[in-house]
């Protein structure tokens, strides 16, 4: 969907290169990145209010302790804990994702699919970290959007005890938009 990126404040910056350049990055890992804040109940409630999820695992301490040992974070929040804060004293590090840093010809991307596996509950007070790894880059493919490469990355999420809590396998399409036809409205934004 929906995460087509073009030059714009808040939009990602891509490293350009050939497919052969890109293939050299398979197996490359990101540095360990730590969540801005520990897993906490206010953010859990805010997210559950968004989803309108009444599950007492997220709302009722007694129920959650009985079933899970503590209030837990909804699995849908996995990536939320790694979102960057928009401002802090001393400045924030620019958002550079591993997938954006792969040298490839495509100058934009669209997310294709995400598969998450959950191994352990994420509990209030846990401090998560993540390491991303480039798992695969497809040969050149042409879709209705354009021509480019499918990139598969695996993110491994651990808690402060080093236990793996989840793995997230993401596939995206790094591509160059199809040239618009001479009367095509699609070219106007370029």
């Amino acid at each position: 969907m929906a995460t087509i990126a073009t030059a714009h404040q808040g939009a990602p910056h891509f490293t350009m290169g050939t497919y052969e350049d890109g293939l050299k990055m398979i197996g490359a890992k990101s540095e360990v990145r730590f969540s801005e804040s520990e897993i906490n109940w206010p953010m859990i409630k805010y997210y559950c209010a968004l989803v309108e999820d009444a599950n007492p695992s997220y709302w009722d301490g007694d129920f959650a302790r009985e079933r899970w040992g503590s209030i837990i974070a909804p699995p849908g929040m996995l990536q939320v804990w790694m979102s960057r804060i928009q401002w802090k004293p001393g400045g924030i590090t620019p958002a550079a994702s591993l997938a954006d840093s792969i040298p490839l010809p495509g100058d934009t991307l669209i997310n294709v699919s995400t598969e998450a596996e959950f191994l352990r509950p994420m509990r209030i007070g846990d401090q998560l970290n993540v390491v991303d790894e480039i798992a695969a880059i497809s040969p050149e493919k042409t879709t209705r959007l354009g021509t480019g490469h499918f990139v598969t990355t695996v993110a491994t999420y651990r808690n402060q005890r080093g236990e793996v809590v989840a793995r997230n396998t993401n596939q995206l399409f790094r591509f160059t938009k199809n040239q618009p036809s001479s009367d095509g409205a699609a070219g106007k934004e370029a």
Binding site: M1, T3, Y46, V51, F63
Partner: protein, 151 residues
């Protein structure tokens, strides 16, 4: 099925049959809710809060993000199965956007009931999330349910 929490039942593995429908839930995606999505998930990619940017992308207005879809998929599962359900795995594919002003739905179907090598009682479910234009995000998940036999 057994009582789990006031007003909520927990489905046990033995209650589930392959081919069973997971009932549809719906939700109004108001403009406020899309803004709340950006805030709740700390995701300020401009397509989720800036109408002009969304228009430049060829989108009709701002749209919900992946993390909202994921939470809604999981809610389809746990509203049906109960609050003691563990999501083991969930795969989603983004096909189209869901926009401010849409009514979103989610529904599913049980495809498999099985026990893995670790003795976990599992159910596979196909799920569809969409709007009035049809399915926007097909998904599938494996969930672990309590077993009546293990009680």
């Amino acid at each position: 099925m057994r009582p789990s929490y006031p007003g909520m039942l927990q489905r046990e593995w033995e209650d589930v049959t392959e081919g069973e429908e997971v009932p549809r839930i719906t939700s109004d995606v108001t403009l406020k809710r899309v803004i709340m999505d950006a805030a709740a998930t700390w995701d300020y990619f401009p397509g989720h809060h800036n109408v002009e940017y969304a228009n430049q992308q060829g989108q009709k207005t701002i749209y919900i993000n992946t993390m909202f879809f994921q939470g809604f998929i999981d809610r389809v599962i746990t509203d049906w199965a109960g609050p003691e359900t563990w999501i083991v795995r969930r795969k989603m594919t983004m096909q189209r956007s869901i926009y401010a002003g849409d009514t979103m739905f989610g529904e599913g179907k049980v495809t498999r009931r099985w026990v893995d090598d670790d003795g976990r009682h599992l159910v596979d479910i196909d799920i569809a999330i969409g709007n009035d234009d049809g399915v926007a995000c097909p998904a599938n998940a494996t969930v672990e349910l309590p077993s009546a036999g293990a009680r």
